[in-house]
């Protein structure tokens, strides 16, 4: 049996997780305070994913940039492709929290949405 020690990154509690793996299968997760820790541990040892946050340029807005995030977590190896794809994006104000900024970013099947309201100048 293989044992892996991880730190749950889902919230700032940072629970220390112990994952027991047998024949490539997760058999037990311990150390988590809530269900998310369990889900995270199982994913992290098989297919690690992250939510990506960044900013994109705004035209005619009260602010010059708007903060955005991937609506769900995306595979770790797609992080750079995702941020690169956002570099050239410009959006027109007004922008509302939750607006889709880019659909299916870097072919992940996940949309990038705004996390802030920006009024028009």
């Amino acid at each position: 049996m293989e044992v892996k020690n991880l730190t749950c990154i889902n919230c700032p509690m940072g629970c220390p997780l112990t994952v027991e793996i047998e024949a490539g299968q997760v058999v037990r997760v311990s150390g988590n305070t809530c269900k998310r820790g369990d889900v995270y541990a199982r994913k992290e040892v098989t297919n690690p994913t992250r939510i990506v946050t960044s900013t994109v340029r705004v035209m005619h807005g009260k602010l010059d940039v708007v903060s955005v995030k991937t609506k769900e977590d995306i595979p770790k190896e797609k992080i750079f492709a995702c941020v690169r794809a956002l570099k050239s994006v410009q959006v027109e104000a007004p922008i509302h929290m939750g607006d889709v900024i880019v659909k299916n970013i870097a072919d992940t099947g996940v949309d990038v949405t705004a996390t802030k309201n920006v009024e028009r100048q």
Binding site: P12, G14, R57, V65, V83
Partner: protein, 433 residues
Amino acid sequence: MNKYDIVIIGGGPAGLAAAISAKKNGIDRVLILERDKELGGILNQCIHNGFGLHTFQEELTGPEYAERFISQVKELDIDYKLNTMVMEIDREKKVTAMNREDGLFDVQAKAVILAMGCRERARGALNIPGFRPAGIYSAGTAQRLVNMEGYMPGREVVILGSGDIGLIMARRMTLEGAKVKVAAELMPYSGGLKRNIVQCLDDYGIPLKLSHTVIDIKGKERVEGVTLAEVDGKGKPIPGTEEFYSCDTLLLSVGLIPENEISGNMGVEMNPVTSGPKVNESFETNIKGVFACGNVLHVHDLVDFVSQEAAAAGKNAAAYVKKEHTEDGAGREISLIPAEGVRYTVPSTVNAARMDEKLTVRFRVGNVYKNCYVSVYFGEERVIHRKRQVMAPGEMEEVNLSRAQILQYPNLENITVKVEEDETNGSKESDLH
């Protein structure tokens, strides 16, 4: 002069939650004064995710978390003034503030809630000899530049300190195309959260050098590089361990300090360990009717706790205004004493006559402890003994006290919170957590 029941200084998460709670507890005249151009405080520049999981069962970014509270403030029709800097508060709770429209003006409050948050420690606090070339930023300034103005301060970065803002900026600048070479931390442990070490440094292969510091900065006009060295147990550089890193940017992430000039000037008694006010179980300072919550009280890593604390402060301020507060002299003021590994507690005193059924006492430890116990003593008697796998200075801890239990000890004067290494005494135990 304008009159309000409760005036709240600062419109960050603490001020917002305090205002909402005061209003919901029956106070109509509530005013928030905020010096920035928008409500939300430091959350506006924290565009990363990880906020509010415990409050909303959803993982939000800073601006999203703030918006949930800002929209409530608007729905509840709570008054607020932006671009308004509070200059002074006197003991009679006259608040003096300034803005472009009104100039200098006074507001008379019945109760005041201090929610000014914290600022970053200045680089003057650091002992780096040499010139002061361009390219040295506090991590928070860099965060503001990148996240709010879309400006990248540099391409090759070294970070001094392992506070959370520095860690978050290591990732942010890496994603934006910079090369973050190393993070150096003077202490033998990280000042930031474990999750941030994992997802901001480890994920991108950025080394964290513990017990290291910057001993020299090269460059006259602009930073050209820094020299790191390992330090001994007393924080002194060890000769022969010097290593040079070329870089154009040095980020300082050496900690936060509560912003308490106004509180100090009005005579609020401070706790030298937290640099925040001393408060009782109601989050009230030594001045009656003056409350404090959020980062101005003690630096938090978790905004959920800020919101909880602030909601309690708002409720208690409302009770004070409505004169529901228990009369002076009722109950006993019991001191909470931090000992053996516990650096401070918030609150500093508790009075069972005023407390709710349950009181959460928050504290930080002064070192890394493994497989230890958090113990609470009522006088000489140990009443809580809770096992903790790991405790570190970077993470806030808590214990819960129960009113019913305190009332069983009518002559109690001191409650001591401490870290215990192992099972030593077999007195009565009860785990309240």
